[in-house]
Symmetry: C2
Subunit: 456 residues, 2 copies
Amino acid sequence: MTDPETTSQDTIEQPTLEQLREALDNEDPAAIRELLANIHASEVADLLESLPNQDRQRVWWLIDPDSAGDVLAHAQESVRVSLLELMQPQEVVEATRSLDTDDAADILQDLPEALIESVLLAMDEQNRQRLASVMSYPEDTAGGLMDLDVIPIRADVTLDVVNRFLRRRSEIPDNTDSLVVVDRDNRFLGVLPLTAMFLNDSERTVGECMNTSAEPLPATLPAAEVAKKFEQRDFVSAPVVDEENHLLGRITIDDVVDVIQEEAEQTFRRMAGIEENDLFAPIWSSTRRRAVWLGINIITAFVAAAVIGRFEATIQQLVALAVLMPIVASMGGVAGNQTLTIMVRGLALGQIGKSNIQPLLRKELIISFLNGLLWALVVGVIAYLWFGNHLVSLVIGAAMVITLASGALAGALIPLLLKRIGVDPAIAGGVLLTTVTDVVGFLSFLGLAAIVLALV
Amino acid sequence: MTDPETTSQDTIEQPTLEQLREALDNEDPAAIRELLANIHASEVADLLESLPNQDRQRVWWLIDPDSAGDVLAHAQESVRVSLLELMQPQEVVEATRSLDTDDAADILQDLPEALIESVLLAMDEQNRQRLASVMSYPEDTAGGLMDLDVIPIRADVTLDVVNRFLRRRSEIPDNTDSLVVVDRDNRFLGVLPLTAMFLNDSERTVGECMNTSAEPLPATLPAAEVAKKFEQRDFVSAPVVDEENHLLGRITIDDVVDVIQEEAEQTFRRMAGIEENDLFAPIWSSTRRRAVWLGINIITAFVAAAVIGRFEATIQQLVALAVLMPIVASMGGVAGNQTLTIMVRGLALGQIGKSNIQPLLRKELIISFLNGLLWALVVGVIAYLWFGNHLVSLVIGAAMVITLASGALAGALIPLLLKRIGVDPAIAGGVLLTTVTDVVGFLSFLGLAAIVLALV
């Protein structure tokens, strides 16, 4: 949260990372193996993500094959892809064997199309069918997130029968907080919380004790919606059904946590034009993606330059204008970006709609007007002290108020317009905003100056 | 996730929001009451957050007192504070009665100091003690997150005894996936998963079946660390202990989900200088907070202006320089900001340390150099076509390469330096970066131009 935590967060990881670094430098595979054996698969994945590409490969060869699947499941997609490239189909089969179906499906989906086939063929029939079922839904839907480790029971049996049925199993899947009640045709009827098994008399039937108000998730529900349901209802697990209410599987909270984190980060990453895993991505792919962003920005920059170009004569007459003009554009950009950031996030969270857009717009305009006045005053005074020209002071002050208000208006309206035409506001919003604030900033400042100079 | 989801996310909420709007406009309290009764408390909280202040109050009066506590627990802090201001101490007591201890403590902590006392006094002894225990830990630690709804059992009893003990209870707290095993002095020994109750013979003892490898969380563990543990280990709940290993309570996944979401958003919000709930915060507090950010930026802007001021004579000689100079600074800013964003996030996630900082720095420099060359070429050609002056083209190209490389270097080093001196890199990083890219951008471009003009 605040700094102390961030710091302590590091102190947990850094020693392991340093030890690993040392073992790599000493070319000491035994030390690396021991280190890896003592930490959780998710931490191994974190470590691999933090390593440069060639070290990552060296460490990967030393991972216990039994935990390779778990490590892959916890790794970021780009890292996973780079590790999968090092593996034979049979190794992938071995690694995914012990995983939940949803995790196995995620890994398989990162393989080249041709390899997916050969991996599926190397599996036994049951696993292949289970995987095919999950993989038939897009990765970012309830169907793609579900695993198949659900325990279905019938409504007409007694709790005692369920108890004996459970005892015959050798294990109960992780995160099982309830059993799912289905009819003869595998249609969803309700859920029986495990705790109900303790609270009720064992002669009562499942049908009497089950919770019928729990609504199952449709397999086609987008992942973002799934996450919202889990957050709002504090689910630990939820059953997934097809269009005809047939039980398909279940989603557990651990998969949803990943979605929630991804959701929250996504907007902001897009606003900076960087990829999910840019920090450890190969140089070439980072360069390419970021170049696109710079290329878009250069259009903005030239539009702004063109505006300045219209006023070459004015600048020639009073060079102080060239000195001060970036201040106006910069302040407008910062103010507009504040509005843009909260609008983009508010839209992503579904907090903004027809009913509240008017008061929000009004609020943003008032804020920017108040801040515009305040900083116009400050900048005006400093400009006067610097250049001793009260006309320049008045002009820059007026330009600041205009530019900050335009920045707020653009920051609020651009995301709404982009959304309406189906473009993600996080991606193009910032560039469009800067275009507006630069153009208005330079135009209002140099334009007002030209008028004033002509009058004097 | 991608656009279609964001859109569908809205279609769920918007109808409710529109209906509410309509009912408010029609001054129809019955319709509002009915609407509120049909949605989950967390959705009521979402609705309240989306309303302007006076509408929020009107709706709040119509909420069923029985669900008021739940709504408060789900609301954002600033909204909660504004609602608490409308309540009498006795109403707060009523509202918090049915809540988990951690949720009740969160609400109480938002009350003015004097009111906390009177609310605590109005409670019965047991609740008061439970609340005081949770409130003795900071809100962002394991102790502050925990609730006290843990079911402790002894190691020497049989599963059958546990079974009968559970049956005597009228309910088992939500998210109970395991019972906590303690010794005579309430010291933590291990956990007994509920599923173990089904899989083992009922004559076996708790001690034989419990999981002793589960580590409890210390009450002082920062919330960010707690979230990390839950994410890595896929916990549903985890016991919390004091320094002497005494069992204090438990943390459940639903509280952790809030922490995870908060964590992920925090960095980026700070980078834009906006508050947690700026979208619906009162105008005055938004204005103040954002003014600070603009005030910091104005220093940056004047430093950049001062650099330009040194070259007034050069600009006078060739006004094209004033037209083109914002391009250099803007491109450097965008490139630097890409590096800054991923470094700040990488640091917050603990992914960056001594062992990998060198390859990361090298990578960022290479990327910025490649992009610098590419865009130097593009800008150089366009500048030549525009002004027909090959010297200006050469100068702007060279300045672009220098500025983009400095931007990457500054984007990578500034967060590291800020962190070392204990300042949150998310807060001050962007402003410092812009100062560097503006100064280097204007200095390299105008400086090179001055030298070239002097030589010609």
